[in-house]
Symmetry: C2
Subunit: 352 residues, 2 copies
C-alpha cells in the first residue's frame, strides 16, 4: 500500500494548508494510511500529550473526561495531527511498526515497538477507537489508530531491558545529554583543560542526564545547582555531581557567587530549569569565553541576547537543539550505567 | 567626586529595587552623579531611543510632542534610566566624558566623545533640560544631563573620520559582524574548507556588515538573501556578496531551495531579518553540521529548538550575543574599507 511518486523527506507532501508550510507550522495535514515510498506507518497504542497541552485542555474542559476526549478527537479530526491550537505543542507516541515504505530510511521493520522522537505537532495521525479507554486523568492516552513517519522523522525502538515508562521519560529529554556531551568534549579539546560544568536544575530529568553526560565527556568538575534542600538531598545521594549548590537561578548575583564558591565560574553552563528569568544568572555564572546551553523552553531569546551584552559577557549561547545524532542510544546507555539516574527517574515517574 | 567603597562592575550598587536584580532587570536605579571608583560619568548630548520603544511611546501619546516629552521625562525620573516599561527596551546615547573614577577600567578620559554600546535600559540617567530641544518627531533626542557607565559597561569613542550619524548606525549593530566573523573563521578552521555563508536580510545594516565580515573571515561563497527586487538591485550594485537571491525567509522550502540553487546549503546561516517566522527556513537552508546565528530580536526560542528537532537537523543554533571583544573597531573598519557598505548605510540613514 505505497504510492509511486517520491515524497518529501520533510513531509511537505502531506501538508494540506497552508501551502508551503512545514508540517509543524501547518494547520492541516493529510493523515491517510497509504504510504509515500520513504514513509513508515505505525499502529499507535499510546499518545503522551505534553504537559502544557494536557493542562490547557483539562482546564478548558473543566475536568470533564467526556469533554476532554471530544476535544482531542476534534483536534485530530480537524488537523490530521494532535497539535493543541492554543499551546502549539504536541507530545510523542508509542506503537508498533505496521509497514515501512520501500525507500524508508529509518531502519524500522514491521513489528518493532517504537517511540517517536519528533513532536506529535507534525505527525499525521488518525484515531479509530474514540479514545474509549482514556479516563482523561493523565496525559498518557491509550489510543488505537495509525500515525505516519516521514523520511526525516525520528523514532527509537523501545529497549527490551527497561520499563516502558522509564524509557519514554528518558527519550523525551535525550537531546540534552547529547548536546552537553558534544559541547563539553569540544571545550576540553579547544581549551586543553577539563572544563568546569554547572548544571542548573541538576536533580531533574534533563539536568541529571546532562550532569552524567558532562562528567563522561571529560568535565573537570560538575556543579549541580538545585533550588532547595530536598532536591539537594536527592542529588547528593546519587553521587552524580561533584558539588551540590542550593541557589535561586533567577537571582543572577547569588547564582554566580554560589557557582564561584563551588569552584566556578563555569566553562559550560547548562540551563535545565523550566522557569522564566534564568538567562542573566546563567550568563553571569559562566566564564568569559565559555558557553551557555539553554534547554529550558522558558528561555527568552531577547533576555539572553541583551543580558549578555549588558554585562559585556563574551559567552557563546546555544539554543538547545533536541536532535543530535545518536541521542536516544546515548541517553538510554547513561541510565543503564548509572544507578543514580535510575533513582532520580524512578522518583519522578512513580506518581504518574 | 568619587566614593570610597568599591562598586560592583555590574552596577549592582546602583539598583534600588528590586534588590538582587541586575540593572537591566531592575525597576529603579540610583542615577546620582557621584561616582563609585570604577565608574565613568558622561555629559549626555543625545539619546537614541530604540525603534520599538519610540513607536510605542508615539502611539501612546497620540503623536503629541508635549505628551511624548512628558512620557520620557516621567520614565527617567521614576526609574533612573530610560527603559520603556511596555517594550522593556532602551536605546543608546552619545555624549562627552565628564569624569572617570580612579579605578575605571574603560580607558576613557575627560573630553572623549563617546557612544554607549550597552542599552539605555541599564544605564543610570538624569535629564536636566526638560528635553526642550526635542520636537518629538524622531527617535534621536537632543538632551542635556548625565549618565553613568559601570566597570563592565561598554562605550566606543566616536571616530573623527566618520559622520556621527553613520558611526552610530554602525555601532548599533556591531555585534553581528564580529560574531559572524568568529563563527566563519571557526567553521573554516574545523572543516578545512571555506564555508558557504547565507545572509538573510543582506541589504540591511547588520546583514550587509555581516556579509562583508563573512567574506573577510574566509567564506568560500557569500549568498545574500533579500525579500524583493529593489533590495536585490541595491545589494547587487554594492558587490558585497557573491550571489543575490530573492526569497521569502518565512517560506522554509522556498528559502532552502533558493539557497541551494545559489550554491548552498550553507555551512553558516546568519539571520538578520526582523520579522517573525524565519527559524524553520534558516534551519532548512543550513547543511547538517552547520551553524545558524540568530541576530533578529523577532526570533522565537521554542520555534528554533522544536523546528530543528522536527526535521532532524543537526545544526548548531546561536543566540546572537551583542558583545564580542573588539566589535566596535571591527565594524567601523569594515565601513571605512568597503564603499558598498557606505552606500547601504547612507541610503538607510539619510531619511532620519
Amino acid at each position: 500500500m505505497t504510492r509511486e511518486l517520491p515524497g518529501s523527506p520533510l513531509g511537505l507532501h502531506r501538508v494540506i494548508e497552508p501551502a508551503g508550510a512545514l508540517p509543524q507550522a501547518a494547520w492541516r495535514l493529510d493523515p491517510g494510511p497509504e504510504l509515500w515510498p520513504d514513509e513508515t506507518r505505525v499502529r499507535v497504542d499510546r499518545l503522551n500529550l505534553d504537559a502544557a497541552s494536557f493542562r490547557q485542555l483539562t482546564e478548558a474542559a473543566g475536568g470533564d473526561p467526556d469533554k476532554l476526549r471530544a476535544a482531542v478527537l476534534g483536534i485530530v479530526a480537524e488537523r490530521g495531527k494532535m497539535q493543541n491550537p492554543v499551546t502549539g505543542s504536541g507530545g510523542m507516541l508509542t506503537g508498533v511498526v505496521d509497514e515501512a515504505g520501500p525507500a524508508a530510511p529509518l531502519g524500522l521493520t514491521a513489528g518493532d515497538r517504537v517511540a517517536t522522537l519528533v513532536s506529535l505537532s507534525l505527525t499525521p495521525l488518525v484515531i479509530t477507537d474514540g479514545l474509549a479507554r482514556w479516563d482523561g486523568r493523565s496525559e498518557q492516552v491509550p489510543c488505537a489508530g495509525h500515525a505516519i513517519l516521514f523520511g526525516r522523522s525520528i523514532a527509537a525502538v523501545l529497549p527490551a531491558d527497561l520499563p516502558a515508562r522509564l524509557a519514554l521519560a528518558v527519550l523525551d529529554v535525550c537531546g540534552a545529554p547529547a548536546l552537553t556531551s558534544r559541547v563539553v568534549a569540544g571545550a576540553k579539546r579547544d581549551g586543553g583543560r577539563p572544563p568546569v560544568v554547572a548544571i542548573l536544575g541538576a536533580a531533574g530529568k534533563s539536568g541529571s542526564l546532562s550532569a552524567v553526560a558532562a562528567r563522561r565527556a571529560g568535565a573537570g568538575l560538575v556543579i549541580g545547582v538545585v533550588p532547595n534542600q530536598p532536591e539537594a538531598d536527592i542529588l547528593k545521594v546519587t553521587g552524580l555531581v561533584d558539588e551540590v549548590v542550593i541557589a535561586d537561578a533567577r537571582d543572577p548575583a547569588a547564582l554566580a557567587e554560589a557557582v564561584r564558591a563551588a569552584g566556578g565560574p563555569a566553562g559550560v553552563t547548562v540551563v535545565c530549569v523550566d522557569v522564566p528569568g534564568c538567562e542573566g544568572g546563567a550568563v553571569l555564572a559562566t566564564a568569559q569565553g565559555g558557553t551557555v546551553i539553554f534547554f529550558s523552553m522558558a528561555t527568552s531569546f531577547s533576555a539572553a541576547a541583551l543580558g549578555a551584552e549588558g554585562v559585556a559577557a563574551d559567552v557563546t549561547m546555544l539554543i538547545g537543539n533536541g536532535y543530535v545524532p545518536g541521542h536516544a542510544d546515548l541517553a538510554l546507555d547513561l541510565v543503564r550505567a548509572e544507578p543514580g539516574l535510575r533513582q532520580i527517574f524512578d522518583s519522578r515517574t512513580a506518581e504518574g
